[in-house]
Amino acid sequence: VLADRTPFEDLYRDYLGRIYAYVRAQVGTSADAEDITAQVFMNAYQAYARFEPRNTTPAAWLFRIARNATLDHFRAQGRRDRLRRTIEHQPQLEEDPAGQAEERIQYRALLTHVAGLPERQRDAISLRHSGLQFDEVGKLMGCSEDAAKMLYHRAVRALREAVRKEAR
């Protein structure tokens, strides 16, 4: 059944970096990015037998899983934060220093600005700069290719404003 498709390990090794970068641009810490990336590939591994290459590209398939996992993370985090605010005053989780030391990010400040954008803008930028075409971005975000382009361009302008504001 799987003879006509790329071995999962090749897919995994080819896309791990891009999926991690996509996730990392949206979440605050390398630890969260690792957890979500791990979840993405565990889910993908379980679902690979059902992946149909004629209907979608491996990239679009993997990024759909990554997007869902990231949204799940934010939903769960929202619940945790609300609970925390309600019942106790805990400090924000700090970035794991070992993770910070070992991951490779050259544009940490820029990605922090990306992470600060509204959800759909952040998603549009992250998907587009992870190498997806606008039609794939649109499909993943549930809108047309043109709408995805508009959303992306609005997002880049918002990002530029955020970068400028900090520079002032």
């Binding site: 897919l11 990015a33 990336t37 591994y45 050259q106 400040a109 700069h129 190498g131």
Partner: protein
């Protein structure tokens, strides 16, 4: 801001985003750690099925094996598979390579050898690296790589030293921290200790078995860490001063590389080992990347420093394979390459390097050959790297 200027600004920002996404990567160890987790999540029957399938592939490559021998071997393979999957371990303390040294280590040292060496695992080292992954797009599907050798490997040595160190203990980690003026706070899982000093936190870790990673220390500056004041100093000068101030200057041979393309600026001290008759051989990880000690500087302020934990090394000479044998191994290792590359790659460079081979209580830095060659894909220049062990197979555990 006028409209053309605004457009230029947007374009520059988009280029920066391209770079940001292409260069953001997880810590190197994650790839193999996560793959192991994925593999271990598979049900045992499918692992056994793969083991048997692999066995039959091996039989196909040797057509002259008599059927009776095949049947006998199959019984052994199934038996071994069942034992492996059941988690049963034989012998006291398991079957780790380190147990070979129990009791007879002093004799082996007296002979100037460490006995048979463990074989390095390079299954993930036939690597393709892209300076900019964005744009590779969906043409990334992998195909078996056809490797050819077009370079020249002029090897004049027939043996090379192997280095061995004993796994650091919590006591040794504490002594290291104490010499820096840091005080033990706790022993978090996976670390020998976590320590505090006036303006930084120190973590010390032992050898990581898989993927192989050397014992290491990590210094994380706190907000009170002052910048290094030295007018006109280069990043390397600043890193040198910081390391000297903390008695962390490398006590081994190294070359320095500075990555100033981002913030923080990263100063790398890449460790080398002396191979008599060959010269300096770089220490590399299983991806072929050099390592040793790194200092990250942001606005002249050290923010992170991490390096191989100092250890006493024993040394013994071992016979190594010939250049021809190394080349044959490299070409046979194959690996994969993006299908759109045509999957034909010319390796044209080779160097002797050292790799970590963890082996329990004692681990080794063993010589290996790092082959590399570049090829083009979608207008990008990619590098294929292949690592092969250098120690002669007769000197290694089967």
């Amino acid at each position: 801001v006028s409209e053309p200027e605004e457009e230029l600004e947007i374009q520059a920002l988009q280029r920066e985003l391209d770079d940001a996404f292409a260069t953001t990567r997880p810590r190197p160890a994650l790839e193999d750690e996560l793959w192991l987790r994925i593999q271990s999540s598979r049900p045992a029957p499918s692992r056994l099925r793969d083991a048997i399938a692999g066995f039959f592939q091996g039989i196909r490559a040797v057509p002259a094996v008599p059927a009776a021998a095949v049947a006998a071997l199959l019984v052994i393979v199934i038996g071994v598979g069942i034992v492996a999957l059941s988690g049963v371990r034989f012998g006291p303390g398991g079957a780790s390579t380190a147990s070979q040294y129990n009791g007879s280590e002093s004799d082996q040292l007296a002979l100037g050898t460490f006995g048979r060496l463990p074989t390095p695992v390079f299954n993930a080292t036939s690597k393709t690296t892209a300076p900019n992954a964005t744009g590779a797009g969906q043409a990334d599907l992998a195909a078996p790589a056809q490797l050819t050798w077009t370079g020249k490997l002029d090897l004049k040595i027939t043996s090379a030293p192997v280095f061995r160190y004993r796994e650091p203990t919590t006591n040794e980690a504490d002594q290291f921290a104490s010499a820096l003026g840091a005080v033990l706070r706790e022993r978090p899982p996976g670390f020998l200790g976590m320590y505090s000093a006036t303006d930084y936190t120190l973590k010390v870790r032992g050898t990581v078995q898989l993927p192989p990673s050397s014992p290491a220390y990590f210094i994380f500056a706190s907000a009170t860490m002052p910048p290094v004041e030295a007018a006109g100093a280069s990043p390397q000068d600043l890193a040198d001063i910081f390391l000297a101030q903390h008695s962390l200057s490398p006590q081994w041979r190294y070359t320095v590389s500075v990555d100033g393309t981002g913030d923080p600026v990263r100063v790398r001290y890449e460790r080398q080992f002396d191979a008599p008759g060959y010269g300096a051989a770089n220490l590399v990880d299983i991806n072929g990347n050099r390592y040793g000690l790194e200092v990250d500087l942001s606005a002249n302020r050290p923010v992170v420093a991490s390096g191989v934990l100092p250890a006493t090394l024993d040394q013994a000479g071992y016979k190594i394979v010939t250049a021809d044998e190394a080349i044959r191994s490299a070409l046979a290792s194959g690996g994969t390459a993006p299908a759109a590359s045509g999957a034909a790659i010319k390796l044209n460079q080779a160097e002797l390097v050292y790799v970590l081979v963890p082996a329990g209580d004692h681990s080794f830095y063993e010589p290996a050959f790092l082959f590399s060659g570049q090829y083009q894909l979608n207008g990008q220049t990619l590098t294929k790297r292949v690592l092969v062990p250098a120690v002669d197979p007769s000197q290694r555990t089967p």
